[in-house]
Symmetry: C2
Subunit: 225 residues, 2 copies
Amino acid sequence: MSYPVFAVTVDLVVLTVQEGELRVLLVRRGIEPHLDRWALPGGFVHADEDLAAAARRELAEETGLAWPGGHLEQLASYGAPDRDPRGRVVTVAYLALLPDLPAPLAGTDAAAAEWRPIGGQHLAFDHDRILADGVERARSKLEYTPLATAFCPPEFTVAALRQVYEAVWGETIDPRNFHRKATSAPGFVEPTGRSTEGEPGRPAKLYRRGDAALLNPPILRRKDD
Amino acid sequence: MSYPVFAVTVDLVVLTVQEGELRVLLVRRGIEPHLDRWALPGGFVHADEDLAAAARRELAEETGLAWPGGHLEQLASYGAPDRDPRGRVVTVAYLALLPDLPAPLAGTDAAAAEWRPIGGQHLAFDHDRILADGVERARSKLEYTPLATAFCPPEFTVAALRQVYEAVWGETIDPRNFHRKATSAPGFVEPTGRSTEGEPGRPAKLYRRGDAALLNPPILRRKDD
DNA sequence: ACGAGTTATCGTCAAGGTGATGAGAAAAGG
DNA sequence: CCTTTTCTCATCACCTTGACGATAACTCGT
């Protein structure tokens, strides 16, 4: 049998919310091609490794954390013949959503790793498109799934959850209506009984993520007619 | 540089609606491995070929039609180390939705090709899972996108569109409410001015697909609580 | 020709979700 | 103690939904 030979990589779109802003984990490349340019973290899939396992391994390497909670799912694959000058490389992109970790982000292969705001990037390879696809996937999934909790620590307030939506969607949301929807959607959030302390304003009840897989009813973003 | 070597294939989940039933295009394998077992159509990506182009090529080869209309999108990638006994093969699955073609379905590589009902399959490789993922994607996308029109010929009635939903979702829909939703969602369907003739019952107006990318409001399936 | 059957299309109505907004509760800070 | 801040609950008009009645416009059998 003679069929073309490929290399297969995984690339990661790792998103988090810091200071009310959606940010992506980027690395500065330490090797050619695209030396010194910013890129999504990623690497080659090992010989006997599942795709999802490779994604988890790369995520652990790049964040320096074994499993920081959050969410990891396959995004899409990209395989244009000229996307990598080294040869025929197909990449399977994964989307990760993480809470705001005070992570040191030790770079193993890369020269540097940083959380950067979304937008106006000029990344290596076709990573601009992969990033755009990942952000759009995240925005869309926040509507119909409880995935926003993946951006939050184990216990969080309704306001923190709302700020995730505002950061990811880039729009403001009425706190009163959001509170009604978030607490009434079955399985979205569950009360812990505890409350915040020591912060200005009335103390907020603390919640943890519920066990629903789908949000019913969904929390829709404003459709701009 | 020494990194593992992969082969890359595309596999197709080609769905259509025939006789009010959702069906998938399957081929009987003419070569090892899994000789004589049913499988999704697919094949190796050529050396200088884009993934989407490979999917379109395979679709044209398997259906025997250049471009029968319909819809083609990437589904997901599958790359478990042991999924193909020939070695390390990663497959990029595509989902195609086609109108009911009276297609001969000439097999080029395969021993046979047929439209088969969904369910209770035992396909080669990990194709059972790929098929399940494809069907679920189709079911889900019918809610939020005008994709149901991809199952229809260029001109169709509201009833035909409703029967697509019923076949894909496997549930009955009230014709009156569906008519209201389908005709009121902007950009979903556009009237042609023509009507059906010679069929029993009141003649139905004919529509063609609109230009909307998203269905607003969506057409939701019954949530089974 | 004509009624019966069939299918398409329009209308109505109550229940529930939505956005806009008011108002009270419960803390910190001066 | 009063102001400010933030959280939480309540109200209201509007819209969409599902259930279902009613009518329109054809084919078919006799």
